[in-house]
């Protein structure tokens, strides 16, 4: 094993012995000096998860979050020096970690938080003039394709994830009630926010994101979909960046 292989293995596993050949200034074994590096790695990665997933951290409470984050960062250490990307696997981990089976919505709440951070760093894009949409006639509207800003993403969940997120981030938000919720992440200027979509809205935005024409995206949303509410939201938040008739 090379120096750095041994060092890395012992950093991530506190049950392992401190690697040999490490000393203090007088040549004595390094002992707890090695724990400084262990602590730096574990705490900095845990804090990166805590910064990226504040609602998940709040829902779990500090003690549980430390345990869950500790298991995750050892099972899936970052693969990139970009800490803004660390945590991409965290929602799927929360879905599958057996001790969290009683909190089945946690993974989707984490998906909102992951999407918010991605949106924060996404490329800038100028929105279209909303009048361009109204200038399209009824017939051309349905074959038109709408381009959405790179910051836009959608999360569809069988759980009331928007209400859970809002309850923990916006004081005075109503108590969540059971039911599916679709959330779209929009970033009008620099501050991304999640928005609740009308029923079917998740499938609608997801279809637009694949480049489907408007008519096909409306079909994807299903019966009773409130198209004007969804389009108003996207236009008002500057999410539509181009319209191809």
């Amino acid at each position: 094993m090379t120096v750095q292989s041994a060092f890395r293995a012992a950093l991530l596993d506190a049950d392992r012995d401190v690697p040999s050949g490490l000393t203090d200034g007088a040549g004595r074994p390094a002992g707890r000096r090695f724990a400084v590096y262990r602590n730096n790695v574990a705490v900095s990665l845990r804090e990166a998860l805590e910064t990226g997933f504040p609602v998940v951290a709040k829902l779990l409470g500090p003690e549980n979050f430390h345990m869950v984050a500790g298991v995750h960062l050892r099972a899936a250490p970052p693969r990139s020096p970009l800490m803004m990307q660390f945590g991409a696997d965290f929602p799927a981990f929360l879905d599958s970690f057996p001790p969290l089976a009683r909190l089945p919505y946690l993974g989707d709440v984490a998906r909102i938080e992951l999407a918010l951070r991605r949106a924060y760093n996404a490329a800038d894009a100028a929105p279209v003039d909303p009048a361009r949409l109204s200038r399209l006639g009824e017939d051309r509207l349905h074959t038109a394709r709408l381009s959405l800003a790179p910051a836009v993403s959608v999360i569809c969940s069988p759980w009331p994830i928007f209400a859970i997120w809002a309850r923990n981030r916006r004081p005075g938000s109503p108590k969540p009630i059971p039911g599916a919720q679709d959330v779209v992440i929009l970033r009008p200027a620099f501050d991304p926010e999640p928005h609740l979509l009308p029923p079917g809205g998740g499938a609608f935005v997801a279809a637009l994101l694949t480049g489907a024409p408007l008519a096909r995206s409306i079909d994807a949303a299903g019966n009773g979909f409130d198209l004007s509410a969804a389009l108003s939201l996207l236009l008002a938040q500057g999410a539509i960046t181009d319209i191809q008739p």
């Binding site: 750095q4 890395r8 590096y37 990139s80 760093n121 910051a151």
Partner: protein, 286 residues
């Protein structure tokens, strides 16, 4: 080859590590602060507020790009994707300086988010020099290499840290970033005199000096163990070591780092003011 006197370098004046929460105050009145340092990895997204703020700042201040994730001391080859990201950032920003650490942080493509130590041997010297050649070739500019904070030593080391850094600089033509807080932390932790380290350091290669705060702990034997936390004011013995250094090096670009428990702007500006005083004293004839 690193050239301290090139006109587009950082000024021999105070700078601070830029934090987004200080943006409004810095753009209104930066006080004694004449230049800013950013952590490269925080500006590698595609857009949004970080890049918009940086664009604005770069029109007003010289910028130093400080990498924390390249793993120059790593056993494996440098991550070509990360090198390409650094090149993209430097090509766009045209910063006054690019610096990185004598440390490793990635192994087998796992990034450990800490600056980890390496033994000082001929083998690691060759590897670090090769990596610095690769960085300077990719970026098309000389870089500065920073001395680390150490909590332990390697029994296999055959060179002192100052010998190691001097030889890397000689082989590659890179400059050095002298972190006097790191010198104080390492010297205390490993039981040598910080001034001896400064005396042995190739000060003519120093393109930037760092200052930062540290925390106090102790090892298994009750000996002091200082932790390089960047989470508080610069300690008094570090200011004294800075004066000792500046008296020998002359004025240099001087950065105050404060990365955790980031204070309100006036607190950081006050640290920069102290740095400015130290620089003024260094320019006065003895």
């Amino acid at each position: 080859m690193f050239d301290l006197t090139a006109p587009d370098r950082l000024p021999a004046a105070p700078g601070v590590g830029f934090k987004a929460q200080h943006f409004a105050e810095i753009t209104r009145d930066a006080g004694p602060v004449r230049w800013l340092e950013i952590h490269a990895e925080n500006y590698m997204g595609d857009g949004g507020r970080p890049l918009a703020q940086l664009r604005h700042l770069a029109e007003r201040f010289p910028i130093s790009v400080h990498g924390v994730g390249l793993s120059i001391g790593g056993e494996g080859r440098l991550d070509p994707d990360h090198l390409a990201r650094l090149r993209k950032l430097c090509d766009w920003l045209q910063p006054a300086s690019f610096s990185e650490h004598l440390a490793w942080s990635t192994h087998d493509s796992h990034f450990l988010n800490d600056l980890l130590p390496l033994p000082y041997t001929q083998a690691t010297l060759t590897r670090v020099a090769d990596h610095i050649d690769a960085v300077q070739e990719a970026l098309g500019r000389p870089m500065l290499l920073e001395n680390p904070s150490s909590y332990l030593a390697f029994a296999e080391s055959t060179l002192s840290e100052t010998e190691f850094l001097a030889e890397v600089a000689r082989r590659t033509g890179c400059g050095l970033l002298l972190d006097v807080n790191n010198v104080f932390v390492s010297a205390t932790n490993l039981g040598y005199a910080p001034r001896d380290y400064i005396d042995a350091f190739p000060l003519e290669r120093v393109g930037e000096i760092h200052l930062g705060g540290h925390d106090d702990d102790h090892d298994d034997h009750g000996a002091p163990l200082l932790i390089d936390s960047h989470g508080r004011e610069v300690a008094d013995p570090v200011w004294a070591l800075l004066e000792y250094t500046l008296a020998r090096s002359g004025p240099r670009p001087l950065l105050v780092e404060w990365d955790t428990d980031v204070p309100a702007w006036p607190v950081l500006a006050e640290e920069a003011r102290r740095a400015e005083e130290a620089l003024c004293r260094a320019t006065l004839p003895a």
